[in-house]
């Protein structure tokens, strides 16, 4: 079985841990648990007749702003950046954040995920897509289990490239 380290990055409270929980345990907790530094989860995913053991490093923020050890970003095969659709401050500087992650991890691509779609209407999401400086790959809701599987499947595929 192949084992891959993948990153999940984003500011505090954007719902990274909830996404991992939904993906790994397929459940959602209403309790808010903030992430301190890094939380590691593992999940084995079958993709293209191949079993991949994902080691998901759920990292809070980027090294420069939140003083996260640079070593957390090293050796990763793919990364997913999560922002909160309902909080503007989590996506306004997205392009800079993504550049910083690419520099730290050495990755060419980062998957962009807007989470908490359950809190916004379709029109509001449409407006956000126009403001966000990069292309959003997935609009998810950990609470309603919307698009979570899809986002992680793409992460797994990218980790195999």
């Amino acid at each position: 079985m192949i084992a891959k380290k993948v990153l999940l990055i984003g500011s505090f409270g954007v719902g990274k841990t909830s996404l991992v929980r939904r993906f790994v345990l397929n459940e959602f907790s209403e309790n808010y648990i903030s992430t301190i530094g890094v939380r590691i989860s593992t999940k084995t995913v079958a993709i293209e007749d191949e079993e991949v053991k994902l080691m998901i490093w759920d990292v809070a923020g980027t090294s420069e702003e939140e003083n996260v050890p640079k070593a957390y970003f090293l050796g990763s095969s793919a990364a997913m950046y999560v922002f909160d659709l309902s909080r503007e401050e989590t996506y306004l500087n997205l392009d800079k954040e993504i550049e910083s992650i690419k520099n730290l991890s050495g990755l060419d691509e980062v998957i962009i995920v807007g989470n908490k779609r359950d809190l916004l209407s379709d029109d509001e999401i449409f407006e956000i897509r126009k403001i966000v400086p990069v292309t959003i790959d997935f609009i998810t809701s950990a609470k309603e289990n919307a698009n979570v599987e899809g986002a992680f499947n793409l992460l797994t595929q990218q980790s195999l490239k």
Partner: protein, 269 residues
């Protein structure tokens, strides 16, 4: 007309008098009777409800009053700490004493056994030819013998588990490897010691040692008293293990092969 024994006039008067005197009493009697009958009626209606409530209380007492009772006990304990300590002290004292006696007995037996072995004729002869080690070292070494409990060979940057050996039952070794790598990175970053690595973590009877090599690091968890002799031997064996892995990179992609190598070099050797 024949006269009767009844004096109608007199009797009527008595009746009238009775009426006059007892009207209040009769009204009170009527009222009391009504009240009594009313109570019976109410009782008939209320009894089943009360019974039901009593049954519910019996069955769900902890749910209804658990919190209040717990709170009340907490308050009681808090306010009467001296009394609680006084009541529990003799019982706890006996338990602690019993535990300590049992442990000291085990330790004494173990030390006696080791001393007997050490002072046997064969051992005395052996001692004549040995080096610097003292008898105390020998006794300690045998009573608290260091044991390698866990070994993890981990990718230095990825934190991915490449191979392992385990005496215990660690549920998710991959997660442990990841967390160890994160802790290591965090400690090295927090103390800003560039070029220096986190090497040891000690907790109770366990010591976790991490040795870095090119692209991998090896973490070993050891229990018991770690003597300098054991440390040297472990270090030599770890170097041998790392050398073999790095010379033959197929070990990095074959977990079973690597696990066997770890066992051969660190455990069976």
């Amino acid at each position: 007309m024949r006269e009767t024994t009844v004096d109608n006039k007199k009797d009527n008067r008595f009746e009238i008098l009775k009426e006059l005197l007892l009207t209040d009493d009769r009204q009170k009697f009527e009222s009391l009777r009504d009240q009594f009958l009313e109570k019976d009626k109410i009782r008939e209606n209320i009894n089943p409800v009360v019974d039901e409530k009593i049954d519910d209380l019996k069955a769900n007492f902890p749910e209804h009053f658990g919190d209040q009772i717990t709170e009340s006990i907490k308050v009681q304990i808090r306010e009467s700490q001296d009394e609680v300590v006084e009541a529990l002290y003799p019982i706890m004292g006996k338990l602690v004493k019993k535990f300590i006696i049992a442990e000291i007995t085990k330790l004494t037996e173990s030390i006696n056994q080791t001393i007997n072995d050490k002072f046997s004729l064969t051992q005395i002869l052996k001692r004549l030819f040995k080096g610097k080690r003292t008898d105390a070292d020998d006794v300690l070494q045998e009573v608290f013998e260091p044991i390698i409990e866990e070994v993890f060979v981990i990718g230095e940057k990825t934190g991915l588990l490449i191979g392992s050996y385990s005496r215990g039952n660690i549920a998710d070794k991959d997660m442990v490897s990841g967390m160890l790598t994160a802790i290591k990175s965090f400690a090295e970053d927090a103390f800003k010691k560039e070029g220096q690595d986190l090497e040891d973590i000690k907790f109770e009877t366990f010591q976790l040692s991490m040795v870095n090599y090119n692209s991998i690091y090896i973490a070993t968890a050891t229990s018991g008293v770690i003597t300098s002799e054991f440390k040297e031997e472990l270090s030599d064996n770890l170097n041998t293990l790392a050398e073999k892995i790095l010379r033959d990179r197929t070990y990095l992609n074959d977990e079973n092969k690597l696990n066997k190598l770890i066992e051969d070099i660190l455990i069976l050797d």
